[in-house]
Symmetry: C2
Subunit: 226 residues, 2 copies
């Protein structure tokens, strides 16, 4: 993705200003892009009848916008145009095991994006957004699989929000009680890493013999997500 025209620092708003644990906050656009590029599932937050609703869903990013899709009958999607949503993408990298329970924590990378979703209805833009979504989760798949037809496009709702209002939090490294009184008793401290890895492709049992996974799928096995 070419983000060269975008400022390297994220603008802040009252919602995205880091208030606590400021050392974990980042205003670096490259950090935002890296977190979004590393995953494909977000938690999509909307307000429905005054209450929050948090739904896991697939996203795609083109560096300027996030795209989401779903059935045109989806409650969370239909409720969201013209109302602010909050979308959070989180990668969990490990448990931070300190000497004291109080200093325990999690190593993670997280991006939170606020936006007013736009329902995309223009057929060409819709196809482009769906391509972005598909390629984001599985690069190479848009040209390999059968692309959506007119009926399928009509049954799909596609939303986009801009990445203009975003914040990033990252926690990495060791626990922080290694130079205080809790270091004395000889309690082990460190990080227990958590790693997400793509497994071997599992063929659909209905697939005829002799059809092998394409290279863009097979090559992912054994590689890390993010």
């Amino acid at each position: 993705m070419n983000h060269s025209q975008l400022p390297a620092t994220l603008p802040t708003t009252d919602r995205t200003r880091h208030r606590r644990l400021r050392e974990q906050g980042s205003l670096d656009r490259a950090a935002l892009d890296a977190i979004l590029d590393a995953g494909f599932i977000c938690h999509f937050g909307v307000v429905i009848n005054g209450h929050p609703m948090v739904v896991p869903t697939v996203y795609g990013s083109d560096g300027r916008n996030l795209y989401f899709h779903g059935s045109v009958a989806s409650r969370s999607l239909v409720a969201s145009p013209d109302a602010t949503i909050c979308v959070t993408v989180t990668h969990v990298d490990g448990l931070v095991l300190a000497r004291s329970v109080f200093e325990h924590g999690v190593n993670y990378r997280s991006a939170m994006i606020y936006g007013l979703p736009r329902l995309i209805t223009d057929p060409e833009e819709k196809l482009e957004g769906l391509r972005c979504l598909t390629e984001h989760a599985t690069p190479g798949q848009w040209d390999y699989a059968r692309q959506p037809n007119r009926k399928e496009l009509a049954a799909t709702a596609l939303l986009a929000i801009s990445l203009d209002e975003a914040s990033v939090k990252i926690r990495a490294g060791s626990p922080e009680d290694g130079d205080g009184p809790d270091a004395a008793p000889g309690i082990w401290a460190g990080v227990l890493p958590l790693v997400s890895t793509w497994g071997e492709p599992e063929a659909d049992p209905l697939l005829p013999d002799g059809i092998e996974p394409p290279k863009h799928i097979g090559d992912r096995s054994g590689t890390r997500l993010g």
Copy 2:
């Protein structure tokens, strides 16, 4: 956990009734418990100034309640007593790669819980909730690490919600276009699994030589999360 006195079927409310993709919905309490037991990070949704805010945070479950903790200065925690929150726990199990883009999807297990958080102030109940949180993420750690003192307890906000209003969605298995016209062109279809695994413990560089990870931490390496 002993859940024997709880009904095996989750009650439904207007918010937790499955409306779409009903085949993916489950009202099985054991499925809810399994999803909660398999993870330790949720996405915590609150409404702040009319807008949703979705924050990744650690949770613990005792089978009846979910516990959350944070700084007493946390916006999302302080805003949430007396207002409904929505907490979602999601495990991503793989990409569902169909013959058609339209049938693509994700294998996942997800639980969504609505509740009115209760701020826990009783010192004994607070300590018990923090024990649940700590043991949920790292069984064995509460008795191994140094437990919170009075000052640390005062700096920690602990919230609980009941598990009474919850719903579960699970998608597993192969794509669903294996017996239609899209099966003809010979496109590979199946699942690309995603697996989360605990790595080798990484000692804090400040740890003196000779202190080995305790068994409850070391034994997790190489095991799967969830």
